[in-house]
């Protein structure tokens, strides 16, 4: 900050016109100027206050930042080039102590509080730190040419998933870090495939790029920690030739407080939280972990969910045992469930009217997961929409009854599934011909049921799992509490 702006010896007042207390004491500032010397730093109007000889327009708020102004008016006395005392707001006795009789303010009330400094407006402090202060950020700074588009620079450096990212500037990163109390240099974990350590700061950078808001940070951190759970086998999921990618399902009050969608088009586009939280995980795996399609990511086709696949469960019915509750997290706590999900397969049933009918129908749809003649090659998520859920609810069925009934309905005689049966080569070994085979793991792992979707439409969704789940001791969906 230019030293010439501040007096070596004298008074400085920081004020703004858009502050009733500052305008109240305009006569005091004029009186102090006559007694002199007085410097006023005006945050919002170079013509305020009138009748003062030395008014500097602090439109960049650089002076206010360096002086650590929190409220206006602030009166500061300098002596021999250093601040020796200050008072915030209008308080006659304090002003008299610092500035003498010229600060008497005849006719004014004895006391009136000030207003917040512009330098502390939402988001401004981070911008000022980025411009004039010490950010404390440790990630490498990448210079972008003066005339280069930073969005293109991100593409050129391979930082994106094919869609534009938000350029990660210092002020955006600082704002994102304000969304968590965790320290920026805390290591969250090691990201596959390169097992690279990932700090909270790196999470914030990638969350910025994904388009997250700061209030999503606790969820993004929780999602990442769940993905790094060894049981989730993120590395294998990344490398697979299969379609699957991480499917993120959020439970708990945080879903509502950050504006997630569990209703109309819940699995589709349009909701910022849904879109960016899932995307942040993918960008972290790509950028920090080095998991890049065509390199270690060998997916034959992949699926669009590998851009982002994230939604919140509909918890509007207090009678419904949520997915997180079923998996051990008490209702009212925030939780993330990660599943190795393919794309969405629509399930249409507009005729079933009883729970029993719907179970048989759902079983037909679920049996197609992977291949109709394969069993135990991965589990599934069933997204149960309101109109289908109503059939169960009206029949008095609980979640666990649905799960148990599906498990029974998904049994098949081995002889129908062996290699070559029904003239289809795929299937199960001949040795299983005499057995009754389960399509999926037993509850609660086999079919993970989550409620979501709009109020109209007898369509639910089946999201098939990853064949890696067949090694169930080593690979499963995981549910973690979001702290």
């Amino acid at each position: 900050m230019p030293d010439t702006l501040l007096p070596r010896d004298g008074l400085v007042i920081v004020a703004k016109r858009d502050c009733p207390t500052c305008t109240l004491i305009e006569p005091v500032m004029q009186s102090l100027d006559r007694a002199g010397p007085l410097t006023v730093l005006s945050q919002d109007d170079p013509t305020f206050p009138s009748g003062v000889r030395s008014v500097h327009y602090d439109d960049s708020l650089e002076q206010s930042f360096h002086l650590k102004i929190e409220a206006v008016p602030t009166l500061i006395r300098f002596k021999a080039g250093r601040e020796v005392e200050r008072v915030v707001g209008w308080e006659r006795n304090e002003w008299l102590k610092i500035a003498g009789d010229a600060a008497k303010g005849d006719g004014l009330p004895a006391w009136q509080p000030g207003c917040g400094s512009k330098s502390l407006d939402p988001g401004v402090q981070e911008a000022l730190i980025a411009r004039y202060g010490e950010t404390g950020l440790r990630s490498r700074a990448i210079s972008v040419g003066n005339w280069d588009d930073p969005m293109e620079a991100c593409f050129e450096r391979g930082w994106t998933d094919g869609l534009p990212v938000v350029p990660p500037t210092d002020e955006r990163i600082l704002r994102m870090l304000a969304g968590t109390e965790r320290k920026p240099d805390e290591i969250v974990g090691n990201i596959p495939p390169n097992i690279a350590p990932c700090t909270v700061e790196k999470v914030a950078i990638n969350a910025v790029m994904a388009g997250c808001k700061p209030e999503y940070m606790p969820v993004v951190l929780g999602v990442l920690e769940a993905a790094l759970d060894p049981l989730f086998t993120m590395h294998g999921l990344l490398c697979t030739t299969h379609f699957s990618g991480p499917l993120v399902i959020i439970n708990g009050p945080i879903a509502k407080s950050i504006g997630m969608n569990s209703g109309v088009n819940a699995l589709g586009q349009g909701n910022r939280a849904n879109a960016t939280i899932g995307r942040a995980l993918q960008l972290i795996v790509r950028n920090v972990g080095g998991g890049i399609p065509g390199a270690i990511d060998r997916a034959t086709l992949g699926n669009p969910g590998k851009y982002t696949f994230c939604f919140a469960e509909d918890e509007s019915d207090p009678d419904w045992e949520t997915l997180a509750e079923r998996r051990g997290i008490a209702r009212g706590k925030n939780a993330v469930t990660l599943f190795h999900g393919e794309g969405v397969r629509g399930f249409i049933d507009q005729k079933s009217r009883t729970p029993e009918e719907l179970i048989r129908s759902l079983a037909m749809g679920l049996f197609a997961v992977g291949h109709p003649k394969l069993v135990r090659v991965g589990n599934a998520v069933l997204v149960l929409t309101p109109e289908h859920y109503k059939i169960f609810k009206d029949g008095g069925w609980s979640r666990r009854q649905i799960e148990d009934a599906l498990y029974e309905a998904l049994k098949r005689p081995g002889k129908d599934l062996v290699f070559g049966a029904q003239n289809v080569a795929e299937g199960v070994p001949e040795s299983m011909a005499d057995k009754v085979l389960d399509k999926f793991d037993p509850p609660p792992e086999g079919v993970l049921i989550a409620r979501a979707g709009g109020p109209a439409g007898l369509f639910s969704a089946i999201i098939a799992g990853w064949p890696g789940q067949r090694v169930r001791e080593e690979c499963r969906a995981v549910t973690h509490e979001i702290k």
């Binding site: 990630s139 700074a141 990448i142 003066n146 005339w147 930073p150 930082w159 500037t169 350590p197 790196k202």
Partner: protein, 94 residues
Amino acid sequence: MAYVEKLRDPTAETSPTRRARLAPPPSLEGKTVALMDIGKSRGKEFIDRLEGHFKKAGIATKRYAKPTNTKVAPTAVMQQIAAEAQLAVIALSD
């Protein structure tokens, strides 16, 4: 208009910030070399000479030109070169 000057690296920072150039191929056998005339005077003569050298060495070439030396080549020309050749010589004469 000047944009922002600094971004923070989202990666694990195991690669240098200055990106390495693409390594040249071990040999030109089977490759096509694009010869692009940037439009300066007598450029054609210079590229004719270059083309002669490549031909002597048995290396296939294709000729391209950009409409003016004062601007970057049009996207269509660059896309055509990328589709039809594996290396490029961008040449001028004055």
